[in-house]
């Protein structure tokens, strides 16, 4: 059993008890515990079940690399799945539950997968579920989805109760990792005067050095770390942050920090997480090293742990992970665990050392304490289900015969150490294979490169390869000085303090225990705990031809999921290399991608939630509309009223009312969102001739012209009315969603192609409120307000005038997007609401009603007017829409002119715009395709057209539609069929798109 010892535990405060629950059971721990250490103190070694085989799993590690001990944390709007027990600080009232089991952790139906594991090898899903095809959707997928996946997603109805924020930081030197190396490097860099930011993922400083012991100068490592922290805290140019992980390193010195501000005090004031967005001139990665497991059968049974983790639990939290422990190793470091345990009173049965000559001074020390050391031995198999019961020991050489069984309840394993090279590698830093340590470490000659072409990341301490305290400190000192120098500061060159540590014998690479283990052992030797990938799976992948490590990763799932193979990668690579008969460096590593460790979606989103996710643009009339029944629809970043719904009405009722009223009496539309661009300068006319397909330079002052804008490839991109204000000035209307885009388009050509032309463009969209006054009574209401002459003679159709309407400074455009008598009146934005109210008041006797965008759409569709985004989709040209009249034949050049000569653009088989009239008056489904004779190569019906706009017209009391149809204009009065997704077939007659007032009399009165 695992238990809390009476002594030890440098991180816990035994005077402060904390109670928490695990799967509903109340347990107790101390302040300073992690959830994992507190569970171990309560003899809860088993913390979850595995993802695929549902095998019982216990905690393996003591930090961020933990693959097994994932729990669901919190409840309700604070519930979060897949939280590592090892990095979760214990707090009063913490609630946690284990994952991947049903009905309970102790008894799990899914564990049958484990007995079937022989039949569930790598690639099983790909091979098994491919036939018959319909089974995938209806049988396999629902079952797999139910049983697969890590943890349980939070309730979709509940919103995250916490807040998050982004934080921008700048540093000369960013040091990631507040272990002894990071502290030393930060001090070395800071002494030059450089601005230093030091991030540590844990709540405490110093990392693992105090657990490993040794002395720095005359001091203990603990005391030396306290001294370094105190020195750094006293420096004005240093910022220190705990609970803040360096999550990723990106181009040109960009880095992300992930600060868990209040995970340990849920509900506290302020943000829960803070995402640090950092720009640093130099980055020092002092991210330490992670111990590797050994691959032997049953290495996943609860009670088998990393030797370093077992030592951490003892020294940091006063936990004895077992009563009778066996240590398995290929290096000297694991002897520290044996010695530490023994000294704490734990029974260490023996050290199984794969090396024929076993260890050096540390082994001698262990023997002196009475620990039996077995050189050249291996673990053949660990027996036990929910807890280690026995270990079978055999020779490392051979296949695993002649076993000796020893009863025990915990196994500490050590396969050597791998530097945490993730942050070094994120942005292109290269690695070299270190044969003596059997690990990849940063190649200082090939660092990530900054904008000046020089390296901007320096690895320090054990993250750089050195594992012994003295060389770690010296390496960190050198790295800190080098970073300061590269950041443009003059470092103070010093030696790191002398350290006293025990010399170690060389480790021996051991990728499988025993060396030539038989298949029944290899099938129980786990490489990746989180994804249930075993030695046999990687070997199978190699046999099936997966030679690339990236392919093997995806085929077997080795190194995926929340831990991204922090423990499994090197063992997996080496297993693959052996299976392929290659060297490890030839096989290489998979790509290290940020973040180092999962970060919350909340932190990524930061403050951008709800209303501030994207600011909504509002017209001066927005508030009035909101108060008067507006059914809002998003248009670009604006909200526009779809219709003004009165009480007792449906939206559809409201639209029908507005449509009829505007045609019969008087409608008002808030058109303020329309883009308004001022184009000004001596060359403005020449410039607009290039921008529009029509001739704009010939437009007379005081007149308006409808214009089309094409991209250089000839496709229609925007339309709108252009008014000539004076000789040098034009006002170009754009679509609501197009204002910024078209402004940018104009700027691009002015800045990058015709930069010598004398033209300025200004976007004045928000400077004006614009109201469309539409209907037979439009002139009456404006004349009632008084002011400028708006008669047919004084302001003819397609002209504009400045003047006063009532008390308002107005620009009146006599333009119509509805086919009715219509004025669009622009007033300064500040007067917009007052003008709108004045129109409503004056319009009472004329039957005034505001109308929304749906009515706007229906009125324009009745007139056959196109709408950018409905009739166009980026592949449509003006000629498709019968707009040839708006394409100048006189102009030598305009954007899109040359493209329109290309063969595909002049193809007579291009679909062309027509009106569509259903036989029974019903409304055609939007986007429906018309089918023709025959089938295509895929056996689908050939298509001959599609619906682009479709509405119910209350004026005509039937459906109206427009569409693009093959040879459409030549097929007037023919019938074509549109199969709907509802199973019905809609039959429609091809007609003229202009349905209402074909002579255009009503707008010109």
């Amino acid at each position: 059993m695992s238990t809390r010892l009476e002594k030890q535990g440098r991180l816990i405060d035994r005077s402060k008890q904390v109670s928490f629950t695990f799967n509903g059971t109340t347990m107790r721990g101390y302040e300073g515990d992690t959830l994992a250490s507190a569970l171990l103190a309560n003899d809860q070694m088993m913390m979850g079940r595995s993802f695929k085989y549902h095998r019982p799993r216990g905690v393996v590690a003591s930090g961020a690399e933990e693959p097994n001990a994932l729990v669901g944390l919190g409840e309700g709007s604070r519930y979060e799945p897949n939280q590592r027990a090892t990095t979760t600080e214990l707090f009063e009232g913490l609630t946690s539950s284990s994952q991947n089991h049903w009905p309970s952790l102790e008894f799990d139906v899914g564990a049958i997968n484990s007995s079937l594991s022989r039949f569930l090898p790598a690639g099983f899903y790909y091979k098994m579920f491919i036939h018959p095809q319909p089974f995938w959707k209806h049988v396999y997928e629902p079952i797999i989805r139910k049983s697969a996946g890590l943890g349980k997603a939070p309730d979709k109805e509940l919103k995250d109760a916490d807040t998050y924020e982004h934080f921008y930081a700048f540093a000369d030197v960013l040091v990631v990792g507040g272990g002894i190396a990071g502290l030393q490097a930060a001090k070395a860099a800071a002494k030059s005067g450089a601005k230093v930011l030091l991030l540590e993922q844990n709540a405490y400083w110093g990392g693992r050095a105090p657990v490993d012991g040794g002395t720095v100068g005359e001091q203990s490592t603990d005391a030396y770390i306290d001294q370094l922290v105190a020195e750094l805290e006293a420096m004005d140019n240093v910022t220190l942050r705990t609970r803040c992980m360096g999550a990723g390193v990106y181009d040109h010195g960009y880095a992300l920090g992930y600060e868990r501000v209040s995970d340990h005090v849920p509900g506290a004031q302020g943000p829960r997480h803070r995402l640090w967005r950092i720009r640093a001139k130099q980055i020092v990665t002092a991210t330490g090293a992670i111990e590797r497991p050994l691959s032997f059968a049953g290495n996943d049974v609860p009670g088998v742990m990393l030797a370093s983790a077992m030592r951490d639990y003892l020294v940091n939290w006063g936990i004895s992970s077992g009563q009778r422990v066996i240590v398995a190793t290929n290096n000297d470091d694991a002897y520290r665990t044996a010695i530490t345990l023994k000294k704490a009173g734990v029974d260490v049965l023996r050290v199984v050392d794969a090396r024929p000559n076993a260890g050096g001074a540390l082994a001698d020390e262990a023997r002196a304490l009475g620990i039996r050391v077995d050189p050249g031995k291996a673990i053949a198999k660990v027996k036990g289900g929910k807890r280690v019961k026995k270990v079978a020991i055999c020779n490392q050489e051979g296949v695993g015969g002649a076993r000796e069984e020893v009863s025990c309840d915990a196994v500490a394993m050590s396969g050597g150490w791998s530097p945490v090279v993730h942050l070094w590698s994120h942005c292109g830093g290269k690695l070299i294979w270190d044969e003596t340590q059997a690990h990849f470490r940063p190649d200082a000659a090939r660092p990530p490169l900054g904008s000046d072409g020089n390296g901007f990341v320096i690895a320090a301490g054990s993250a750089n390869g050195p594992l012994e305290l003295g060389s770690v400190l010296q390496d960190a000192q050198t790295a800190g000085e080098a970073a300061a120098n590269a950041a443009g500061f003059t470092p103070v060159t010093e030696n790191a303090p002398e350290c006293e540590t025990t010399a170690e014998n060389a480790m021996k690479a051991v990728w499988l225990m025993p060396e030539n283990a038989e298949i029944d052992l290899r099938m129980k030797s786990w490489l990746d705990y989180q994804n249930d990938v075993k030695v046999s799976d990687v070997q199978l992948a190699a046999r099936e031809g997966y030679e690339s490590v990236e392919h093997t990763k995806r085929y077997t799932t080795l190194g995926m999921a929340t831990d991204q193979g922090k423990l499994s990668n090197i063992n997996g690579l080496a297993t693959l290399a052996n299976a392929l008969g290659e060297e490890v460096p030839q096989v290489g590593t998979t790509t290290f991608r940020p973040p180092y460790h999962p970060i919350s979606m909340g932190a990524i989103g930061g403050e951008a939630r709800g209303e501030v996710f994207q600011p909504v643009r509002q017209t001066p009339i927005h508030g009035w509309s909101d108060d008067n029944g507006a059914d809002w629809e998003p248009v670009g970043q604006w909200r526009r009223p779809f219709a003004y719904v009165r009480s007792g009405e449906t939206v559809h009722d409201a639209v029908n009312r507005e449509v009829k009223n505007t045609r019969e009496h008087l409608g008002l539309l808030d058109a303020s969102t329309l883009g308004k661009l001022i184009v000004k300068g001596p060359d403005a006319g020449k410039f607009l001739d290039m921008m529009y397909t029509n001739m704009m330079s010939t437009l007379k002052v005081g007149k308006c012209r409808y214009g089309l804008m094409c991209s250089e490839n000839g496709f229609l991109m925007d339309d709108g009315v252009v008014a000539r204000i004076d000789e040098d000035t034009f006002l170009c209307h754009t679509t609501t969603g197009g204002a910024e885009r078209i402004h940018g388009h104009m700027e691009e050509w002015l800045q990058t192609e015709w930069w010598d032309w004398k033209v300025y463009v200004a976007n004045v969209t928000e400077q004006f409120a614009q109201v469309a006054v539409v209907g037979p009574n439009a002139r009456k209401v404006l004349e009632k307000l008084g002011g400028m002459d708006l008669s047919k003679e004084a302001l003819p159709f397609m002209e504009w005038r400045d003047g006063k309407i009532g008390a308002f400074d107005a620009r009146a455009y006599r333009i119509s997007f509805s086919g009715e008598l219509s004025y669009e009146i622009a007033v300064p934005a500040s007067q917009g609401l007052a003008f709108w109210n004045a129109l409503l008041e004056a319009g009472q006797e004329f039957g005034v009603m505001p109308y929304g965008t749906e009515t706007l759409h229906i009125l324009r569709a009745e007139k056959g007017f196109i709408m950018i985004g409905d009739e166009t989709d980026g592949t449509v040209i003006p000629q498709d829409l019968g707009l040839n009249w708006a394409i100048s034949k006189k102009k030598e050049d305009f954007l899109g002119k040359r493209a329109m000569e290309r063969t595909h653009m002049t193809d007579r088989n291009r679909w062309k715009l027509v009106g569509l009239e259903t036989v029974d008056g019903s409304v055609l489904p939007d986007g429906a395709y018309a089918v023709g004779e025959g089938v295509n190569a895929n056996g689908q019906r050939n298509m001959i057209g599609r619906v682009t706009s479709t509405y119910f017209s209350a004026n005509l009391n039937r459906g109206i539609a427009m569409g693009l149809v093959l040879h459409g204009p030549d097929r007037m009065n023919e019938f074509i069929e549109f199969p709907g997704t509802d199973g019905k077939i809609y039959k429609a007659k091809i007609v003229d798109p202009v349905i209402y007032d074909q002579e255009g009399k009503k707008q010109n009165v």
């Binding site: 181009d251 960009y254 292109g428 904008s451």
Partner: protein, 109 residues
Amino acid sequence: MLTLQCPYCGVDADETELANGGEAHLKRFGPGSDDDQFHDYLFMRENPKGVHLERWRHAAGCGKWFHAARCTMTLEVFGTYSAQVYAPPQEIKDAITTKRPGWSWREFQ
């Protein structure tokens, strides 16, 4: 997350402030050009592993377009310069030559 110095406003701009505009120094072909010329102008772009000349816009800043010379492989920036030129200025070419002797890009070297 690149940083480029905007040659107009002098700001070392973060990539989030910038918009990439593809290849620099395109020669426009309009009416009168033959199909091949127009096709190449519209669609054919350099895709080098190494030195590249690009258009960028300081979109969330001063709004100006500019040119950048950089390495697509190492992301090293050799310099930024005016958008109102038909070829990279000599000091930009020199800066590239210092770091990448023997470089060439389209007709420039």
